[in-house]
Symmetry: C2
Subunit: 334 residues, 2 copies
DNA sequence: TCTCACGATTGAAACGTTTCAGCGAGGTGG
DNA sequence: CCACCTCGCTGAAACGTTTCAATCGTGAGA
């Protein structure tokens, strides 16, 4: 079916080795020979067989990113990964696990079998916790946005603890003394955010209500949390685990008759594009996912996991509080 | 580094062929032998080399999906693809081109080189128009959600023309006689939607204002269009090219003091999860992307592009109008 | 006892590249 | 004129699987 180097070599009247050289080491082939070979390649529609190439050379040009699902946040993250990867001639494939462990496992199996250049894991805690060590024996792994307890691997992450601190301080300065935290309890980085909030709040003498959501932290989770707070007694400010939930919170609170930020201030995390565009532009903790992604690629290529002398690094990037219109002074207690 | 079948065979005291059989044809290997081999595999942490396997057997278990970017719509589409693919033991990798032609080309090159089982193209018009034929010679290609003029390939698509018809009829029944269409002019399926609207509107005696947006059809495009309509004279209803723009439109119109649907009715396309959750739940043309994705996989596996006797099919799925709260009766002319 | 069939296992040839040692031809310095 | 180098090219051995024809026992049927 598809023409191979053998046929190209025959038609061009050279050896297979020369064809290979045209592809991989053009400097060593005389100019006219190169042209002739390239022309035959075009005529025959030659596409080199990646499997054979990789089998022999042992190198792959593919980086894989594992997501829970395709959302705005991961879109930005991927952009960062891709930009840095393409500087090195690498290509990025993504896959969505939908929080399905079996699916994640089959993805990782295929990646190991393909001997990909590297794997970026972004919340694959279920599998990584158990088979992380085995995985790392077969492919360089970098954790993005997910700090794991045992520091025996590379990772990049945003400083969520500090981000939470900034958010609570901001609300404190605005006079808020009773706030809510909205997020799941079983997603690691959400726990980090919650801890930072509780710690800072207790230092500053602020009361914190916890609203627990399911792990699927999208718009509806925020809406659900809004109704729950409405029933339990609305605080003067709410910090939501990410921007999507914050948007859901904002919409639902408005429907319930609250004004933002007059009655309730709202803070999100992530600073997705949408946050700035919301009806009431969202105050949010920016985590610069593209930067995290790019840094992860750097770690990957710096020999993480492939060289024995490599010491694993945890890169923590500062979070930043972006103040917009969804936060304002606490309404004085009547 | 990584143990191969050779070492497994040695330690288990069998031949390489038997190890291969354990992996690929367990029925022909005696039970005790199988167990012994599997145990050695576990001990050695054996992971079979996908490149070698594929080189020899010529089959791949990977399907690739090419996107402009990771958004809610493509997340749903991928879910459909993945579900059907995993029924056949296939794995789905996605990549985002960000509308960058060079990037798309390098992705497609890698896919062809890897001899993937199939490629699903979802708006890669720039590249497909030019090098589609060459691409199809090297991998089965199915177009999703993008009907191309020359019908020499397989595709699945939603019937956007009919969807538009439903939307305009709905608005007509509500008494709207002057509406706007918001969308780009250089994205094929957006053009199909626009055509359907113009055609139906002209049949029903409805006037249509066109607001042209850039090809990046996200929330801000809708906000931008809202301001433009505000300046040019607000119609009583607006049809936006997708739900994200519709949400942007809704938010911006509210900020400008319009009530939805009291002053202006809004219709979107796609029926993303968010559409139902918006402050004013969105009336929208559902296109069931997961269904399109699943059907595309079926076409791929039915021999599309691989068998000579195969006749290319264009599968068109009906669109459906989901009426929610963002559309209402036109305010009587004062 | 001989033959046959059948189940379990194996040897060796691919698959399409990359890579490296090596070869001839032509040129340069001594 | 010889030795030596460089340039452009080539032959052949990998890489780690899959696959198919062939082999080897073993038990059944004649």
């Amino acid at each position: 079916m598809a023409a191979g180097m053998r046929e190209v070599a025959e038609k061009a009247g050279v050896s297979i080795a020369t064809v290979s050289n045209v592809l991989n080491r053009p400097q060593v082939v005389a100019e006219p020979t190169q042209e002739r070979v390239r022309e035959v390649m075009r005529d025959l529609g030659f596409v080199r067989n990646g499997s054979a190439r990789q089998l022999r050379s042992g190198t792959s040009e593919v980086i894989c990113v594992v997501f829970p699902g395709f959302s705005a946040y991961f879109d930005e993250l991927t952009r960062g990964v891709e930009e840095r990867a393409s500087e090195h001639g690498l290509v990025v494939f993504a896959c969505a696990t939908n929080d399905d462990t079996a699916k994640e496992e089959s993805y990782l199996r295929v990646m190991m079998e393909q001997r990909v250049r590297g794997i970026l894991l972004t919340r694959a805690s279920n599998v990584f916790q158990s088979s992380g060590p085995e995985l790392r024996r077969h492919a360089p792994v970098v954790l993005v946005d997910l700090e794991s307890p045992a520091h025996d691997h590379c990772s990049t992450a945003a400083d969520d603890g500090h981000g939470s601190e900034l958010a609570v301080q901001h609300l404190h300065e605005l006079g808020h003394r009773r706030i809510a935290w909205v997020g799941p309890t079983d997603v690691p980085q959400m726990v980090t955010r919650a801890d930072g909030i509780h710690r800072t709040a207790s230092d500053l003498g602020i009361e914190v209500l916890d609203v627990v959501t399911p792990p699927k932290t999208l718009v509806p989770a925020g809406q659900f949390a809004a109704r729950e707070l409405h029933d339990r007694g609305m605080p003067s400010a709410v910090i939501c685990g990410n921007d999507l939930m914050a948007v859901g919170m904002e919409m639902e609170l408005k429907s319930l008759g609250y004004s933002i930020p007059g009655d309730v201030s709202i803070v999100g995390y992530d600073d997705i594009e949408f946050a700035a565009a919301a009806t009431v532009p969202l105050t949010t903790v920016a985590r610069h996912p593209a930067r995290l992604g790019a840094a992860a690629v750097d770690l990957l290529l710096s020999g993480c996991g492939t060289r024995d002398d490599h010491t694993h690094q945890q890169l923590i990037f500062p979070s930043e509080l972006i103040v917009r219109s969804s936060t304002g002074p606490a309404r004085p207690v009547r």
